[in-house]
């Protein structure tokens, strides 16, 4: 592998997270032991929930921008999203998932989130 670095940041490590992903992509196998199945299912479900949460949050931010909400509505909406955000963090922790795990690679369509 020739050196392709034209400019490297002081800390390269964060960029290396992709290497295991490349290995996975090259040798993708379904691992069907019960524990990883459960985690895989949780990952899928939480990914969909996270997608909806982000979409709704963006929608809410747009409505606030356009001035369509009263202060009270804004506060209530914000609390709901904050609570959802907290619950998602707890669920991620429970299943040992990171934020990056809650994303699907849709091949040529890119990433879900």
């Amino acid at each position: 592998m020739r050196d392709k670095l034209l400019h490297a940041p002081p800390d390269l490590d964060p960029f290396m997270g992709e290497l295991p992903r490349l290995d996975d992509a090259l040798s993708r196998r379904v691992n069907a032991d019960p524990e990883s199945l459960e985690r895989g299912l949780a990952q899928l479900v939480l990914t969909i929930v996270e997608l909806l949460r982000q979409l709704m949050e963006r929608q809410a931010l747009r409505r606030i921008d356009s001035g369509g909400l009263s202060d009270e509505q804004e506060e209530r909406l914000g609390r709901t999203f904050m609570e959802l955000d907290r619950r998602m963090a707890e669920l991620r922790e429970e299943f040992g998932l990171t934020k990056e795990d809650l994303n699907l690679d849709l091949g040529p369509l890119g990433r879900l989130l």
């Binding site: 002081p10 931010l61 909406l77 914000g78």
Partner: protein
């Protein structure tokens, strides 16, 4: 089966002495091919493909062909190139004299968003989210716009969280140094970011309009 590596002008400089390469000429263009090896996909096979394309790139303009493109025989290659001859010739003109440089931007250290929300109330939480989105968009522009100004063309793809920007730039062969210098300047100006710049690559991101 034969494997495709690139589409080039024909005639061109002699082929590098790699992988039993051969030319399949089609009306001013040529497909660079070689007998296909094992069908097993591996990182090594991928790097070998890249090595061949880059050896070709050293002394000619080309449209790189994606790894794993295989056709039955020379006739199939000729037909495939003939069908899109004008489109390919136009694409080759677009990348003539240029190479691709890739740029990825991550928040550095703990500059990313807190894992658990810490707002005091609902309205404050939403304001934090809005500020976050606006500041991310501003950061991305602060990096991508000056770089795009130095490039013949640029394109971005979906960043993968926590990535903020994933972009490719088509740069004149002799303008890589000023581009890299601009990346270094942006890095110095934005301690909150980690900027990774790699290349020169074959113009993979600019073969299609």
């Amino acid at each position: 089966m034969i494997e495709l590596y690139a589409i080039t002008d024909n005639p061109g400089p002699p082929l590098p002495d790699l992988a039993a390469l051969e030319l399949v000429p089609v009306d001013g263009l040529a497909a660079v091919c070689a007998p296909a090896g094992e069908a097993d996909v591996s990182a090594d096979a991928l790097w070998h493909h890249e090595e061949v394309v880059e050896a070709l790139m050293a002394d000619r303009d080309l449209l790189p062909v994606r790894y794993g493109t295989r056709l039955e025989d020379e006739h199939a290659v000729t037909r495939a190139v003939e069908e899109r001859r004008d489109e390919l010739a136009a694409a080759l003109d677009r990348v003539r004299g240029a190479i691709e440089v890739s740029v990825r931007v991550l928040p550095s250290g703990d500059a990313g968003r807190a894992a658990v929300p810490d707002a005091a109330g609902g309205a404050e939480y939403l304001r934090q989210r809005a500020d976050e989105q606006a500041s991310q968009a501003g950061t991305v522009r602060a990096v991508s716009e000056p770089l795009a100004a130095l490039a013949r063309a640029s394109t971005t793809s979906n960043p993968r969280p926590p990535e903020l920007l994933r972009a490719a730039y088509l740069i004149e062969r002799d303008a890589v140094e000023p581009f890299t210098a601009e990346v270094a300047r942006l890095q110095r100006a934005h301690a909150e970011l980690s900027i990774l710049c790699t290349g020169p690559w074959p113009p993979y991101s600019f073969t299609e309009r």
